[in-house]
Symmetry: C2
Subunit: 228 residues, 2 copies
């Protein structure tokens, strides 16, 4: 899905990684499920060697938790986990904004603006389908992150943290007025970057992420209280 995955050669471990990762993020493999290596190997029709390679990378992006000799479980979504994750996200994407304001080329900025216009039109067409919003949002953030030009920051955000972020968002959903507001916030952020105002872009991005967090937090609280 992300550009960093298309290095040169695609291996079986890469393919099954994408499949399982998508299944976890979308909830097809529910949170908290015990991972059985033989079962998954049969299911995806390959040996355990590439499967274990894939599991190692899933652990890397915090989608599963392994304990030696005991196996792996799909991570559980929790309010503390969400807070810790978004605390980091605010800080790192804020930094990404400051660096993007410094390093993004005019062409890259123009491309992001074109992307936003495109999102706006598709949003009009497919109103209510939150999945497209989700994809669009991820794409916007991804562009800004790349714009930071810091390889370690890019790696941490887009390869390690973002799949878990998407898991929270996909499984707990974006609702109501939040969807339309996000576009305006994206616009404001890219404007600040275009003006080379890193401080402002940082601030706006932090608020944008904080708002998103509150939204998911409420869903989690409602879900939690209704169950217990």
């Amino acid at each position: 899905m992300l550009a960093t995955e298309f290095k040169e050669a695609i291996t079986a471990a890469d393919r099954v990684l994408v499949q399982i990762r998508t299944a976890i993020v979308e909830g097809d493999i529910p949170a908290g499920t015990k991972i059985s290596e033989p079962e998954l190997a049969r299911r995806y029709d390959l040996s355990r060697a590439p499967l274990r390679e894939a599991l190692a990378r899933l652990e890397r992006c915090h989608l599963i938790e392994r304990t030696p000799n005991a196996g792996a479980r799909v991570v559980k979504l929790s309010i503390e986990g969400l807070r810790s994750l978004y605390q980091l996200r605010e800080e790192l994407e804020g930094l990404a904004c400051r660096l993007a304001a410094e390093h993004m080329t005019e062409q890259e900025i123009a491309e992001v603006r074109a992307l936003l216009d495109q999102h706006l039109s598709t949003q009009r067409v497919r109103e209510g389908e939150s999945y497209y919003q989700e994809a669009g949002d991820v794409d916007f953030h991804y562009r800004v992150i790349l714009g930071s030009k810091n390889p370690y920051l890019i790696n941490i955000l887009s390869d390690e943290l973002y799949f878990l972020v998407r898991m929270y968002r996909v499984q707990l959903g974006m609702n109501g007025p939040r969807v339309s507001r996000a576009f305006d916030e994206h616009k404001a952020i890219i404007n600040a970057i275009a003006n080379r105002d890193g401080e402002l872009a940082d601030l706006l991005m932090r608020r944008h992420i904080a708002a998103s967090k509150r939204n998911i937090e409420q869903q989690l609280l409602q879900q939690g209280t209704s169950h217990g």
Copy 2:
């Protein structure tokens, strides 16, 4: 070395990971070296399966770079790499300080202070031996990072970024007046945390890290100019 490694069971992959990682950090396997799986398997007397598991984790902490079907190389130390890495470090350890000022218990703070006193005494005894300073510094930063109580932040800093940080520091060295100053800076940081002044602790930590960066940067520049 770090507490996060002693989970429950120690496997062969864990052991060889620690061995190879130490060899890379200390420079026994020089930067830029091509990694040969069969050779390392013979050298450490095990099969390629656990070795590959170890290599996957080394890639995770940026000590090696793999390209599919082509093999792995030990990472090269560069001035751009150092800057990108320390840019992140400043931000993340600054955050860690703010969180530590909020979450560390009085007892944890007292332990860090005891640790610093101990470092001071051992420094007097073993003056000049920069390795002990190195270990002590890592230990101090590690305590503060743990004090943040944010599991994702802890994981990124101590499991992913810190071995590369250590590689820069061990191979390019800490020299002269920097060593003794570091202790004072550590003292000031833990004092700010003890006063629950997260802002100040953040600022002091950023300066501390920036100073460390400049030190290594100079070494790299001298080394670079003397060669070409």
